[in-house]
């Protein structure tokens, strides 16, 4: 199946462990094969990632309801607050970065993973997450700001 790695990467970042991620990708694949006719081939990756995303969120709501706390997309305060933000990540350790990403709220982590690890456009992220492009823009800004703040607090850099 094409885009299996992208599907797994998203599921793994949302679920937090290998076992649950594999379950989610299997469920999503069954749906993808069943509804393959709906995908008109315009953007197969975004289409598959949307299915994986929805499967993951359904799974999380059922099994880990506390992980799915919806965020307030209007709150932009932390973007203005630049005092406590790290401005260099040079030489940051992979484990530290991974832990910092995992500490982000689900929707922020999702936006950042799709953007920085999968190289998705804002339009694709908007399609996958089911939100307007403007929301994608603010989620990415806030996700980055939170990572910067986390690093500054830990004083690692």
């Amino acid at each position: 199946m094409p885009h299996l790695d992208a599907a797994y990467n998203l599921a793994r970042w949302l679920a937090g462990n290998d076992h649950d991620a594999a379950d989610i990708v299997q469920d999503a694949s069954v749906r993808a094969f069943r509804f393959a006719a709906q995908c008109r081939g315009e953007n197969a990756r975004a289409w598959l990632l949307t299915i994986v995303r929805n499967t993951a969120f359904t799974w999380l709501k059922k099994n880990r309801p506390r992980a799915v706390v919806s965020i307030d997309d209007d709150e932009m305060a932390e973007i203005e607050d630049t005092n406590r933000a790290a401005d260099s990540f040079h030489g940051a350790d992979a484990n530290v970065l991974r832990a910092a990403l995992e500490a982000l709220p689900l929707e922020f982590r999702e936006a950042l993973v799709l953007r920085e690890l999968e190289g998705c456009s804002y339009k694709e992220i908007a399609e996958v997450a089911g939100v307007p492009v403007g929301t994608v823009m603010s989620r990415l800004a806030r996700a980055r700001r939170q990572l910067q703040n986390q690093f500054a607090r830990k004083g690692r850099l």
């Binding site: 199946m1 299996l4 790695d5 599907a7 797994y8 990467n9 793994r12 970042w13 290998d18 991620a21 594999a22 990708v25 299997q26 694949s29 069954v30 094969f33 069943r34 973007i79 203005e80 630049t82 933000a85 790290a86 401005d87 260099s88 990540f89 040079h90 940051a92 350790d93 992979a94 970065l97 991974r98 990403l101 950042l112 953007r115 920085e116 690890l117 456009s121 804002y122 307007p132 492009v133 403007g134 823009m137 990415l140 800004a141 980055r144 990572l147 910067q148």
Partner: protein, 251 residues
């Protein structure tokens, strides 16, 4: 643009998602503002760290195999069990040939309309961005004699600028935007509580064309040519109001 405006746009700029005109404005600001330039470097540094540290997970081989099995289980069983006879084989070949010809035809049809669809999509995105980024206007004025000269020297054409306040569409201002592969004039009109963007650029055809109303993502879009200009009107106001404005402009 001030620093607060830049901070709202700098992520879209760093992600290469900003239109050309606003990108240039951000870059101009970054040259002269060390604080915003530091923010740009921080975003870049974070991006490098995320991409260089190989944080991507790859699907395990076991999962890959299971998915392959799923894909095969989905095919109808008879395709694999009965080997087709000679005649069946020929029928299949004929059908396959027909399907290929159909696919090629569809691709050509799509290519023909994709340019139009892309323009519609871009016009709506420009409209949405102009509201989101708080960048509706570069020149805010209800006076057509202020708005029109503002475009002088910024464009290679002089758009017609008229105020239709008496008819319910007050002129609010104008700005430059980028659409259909070129810099265009964007005139901003008000209508009740809605904003209307009117994108103007020199027309490709010398003749006037009738307004065509389309909708995209809940926005109404009207395209037409008049007096040597192409007009593209975008708003969340109802299509009827846009048609009315199109009538006023084309008069």
């Amino acid at each position: 643009m001030n620093c607060a405006d830049i901070r709202k746009l700098i992520h879209a700029w760093a992600d290469d998602e900003l239109d050309l005109v606003r990108s240039l404005e951000v870059e101009q600001h970054l040259k002269s503002c060390p604080a915003c330039a530091r923010e740009r470097d921080a975003i870049q540094s974070l991006r490098d760290a995320l991409r260089q540290n190989d944080l991507t997970f790859r699907a395990p081989d076991l999962l890959r195999m299971e998915i392959r099995k799923l894909a095969h289980a989905d095919e109808p069983a008879r395709d694999r069990e009965d080997a087709p006879s000679g005649i069946q084989l020929w029928i299949w070949r004929l059908l396959a040939g027909g399907a290929t010809a159909f696919a090629v035809l569809m691709i050509f049809l799509r290519l023909g309309i994709s340019g139009r669809e892309a323009m519609l999509d871009e016009a709506v995105s420009d409209h949405v961005r102009s509201l989101q980024a708080n960048h509706l206007m570069d020149v805010a004025s209800t006076d057509q004699h202020t708005v029109k000269p503002w475009f002088d020297g910024k464009l290679d054409f002089a758009p017609t600028v008229r105020d239709f306040a008496a008819q319910g569409f007050p002129l609010i201002g104008g700005r430059l935007d980028y659409l259909n592969g070129r810099t265009v004039a964007a005139l901003v009109y008000g209508y009740k509580k809605h904003f209307i963007n009117v994108f103007v650029w020199p027309s490709a055809t010398a003749t006037a064309t009738a307004p065509v109303l389309e909708t995209d993502r809940g926005y109404s879009v009207i395209n037409f040519d008049a007096d040597g200009f192409h007009y593209c009107i975008v708003s969340d106001a109802e299509g009827k109001a846009l048609s009315e404005l199109a009538g006023l402009i084309g008069r």
